[in-house]
């Protein structure tokens, strides 16, 4: 078992809680410290890497699309993958296939892949530690 691989399971959908921001901050730091990360995006989290997410203007803020520069989780995940690659780390990001199908979010950020709970089992077996962030 590699002692530099960690697994994380996410459940929250994008734009609903702060849990994902916390998770992404942890995931951002891990590859900088030499960790490989395995992510199982389960239930609502299967939409995090959906490529058809679009930024929008915000009339309440008085900003157009460019000015608002609204965050999208797909961009954050793409940045995470690029950051890991820069540091020689490996990210295996699995989107739960059935969860993806339920939600119709089949197009995902390159570098992430479709998978199943069997992948999560494999992640647990292969990782030095596991962090589960469930929906509350």
């Amino acid at each position: 078992m590699a002692d530099t691989t960690i697994a994380i399971a996410l459940m929250d959908p994008p734009y609903e809680s702060e849990n994902l921001t916390t998770a992404l901050r942890i995931l951002d730091v891990a590859p900088r410290r030499g960790y490989n990360i395995n992510v199982f995006a389960y239930e609502g989290a299967a939409a995090l890497a959906f490529t058809r997410q679009a930024a929008h203007p915000n009339p309440i803020h008085g900003k157009d699309v460019a000015q608002e520069n609204h965050p999208t989780t797909k961009d954050q995940i793409a940045a995470l993958l690029a950051e890991a690659e820069k540091h020689g780390g490996k990210v295996d990001w699995v989107n739960c296939g059935m969860c993806v199908d339920e939600r119709g979010v089949n197009e995902h950020v390159p570098g992430t892949r479709r998978g199943s709970p069997a992948d999560f089992h494999g992640f647990v077996e292969a990782s030095v530690n596991v962090l589960v962030i469930p929906t509350k």
Binding site: Y15, E16, T21, D28, P59, I60, A79, E83
Partner: protein, 128 residues
Amino acid sequence: MAKKTLNIVESAYRAVMEEQDDTILWVLAAMQGVGAEHTVVLRGNAVNYAVAGQGASRLTIGDWQQAHPPKMDTDIADLIQKRKIPVYVITEDLDDRGIDRAGLVPEVRFLAKAALPGLFEYAVVNHW
């Protein structure tokens, strides 16, 4: 005439980094713009929204950097001053958290828990 609606906001800092604002306060501001008549009561952890001078630093993930981190105090001031939405805070919830009333956004109104039912003359009460 629009139904007068009381909105009790209790969930705080829910997805504010991703949305760059609070989704409930945002939708109330948007509805007010089309003729709704809202009042807001901040209770529980949401009383912290009224603390002046707060702000989150820019989130960075790899090379991605957030453009406009949320500023909840400015959003509260915007509701009060620009949207003309009254905003109350529950005094016991401030005290429980050690929040100094002098440090809050101007024109926030104070409300004791026992006085909350007195606001229930509203046609609709939404608890968020």
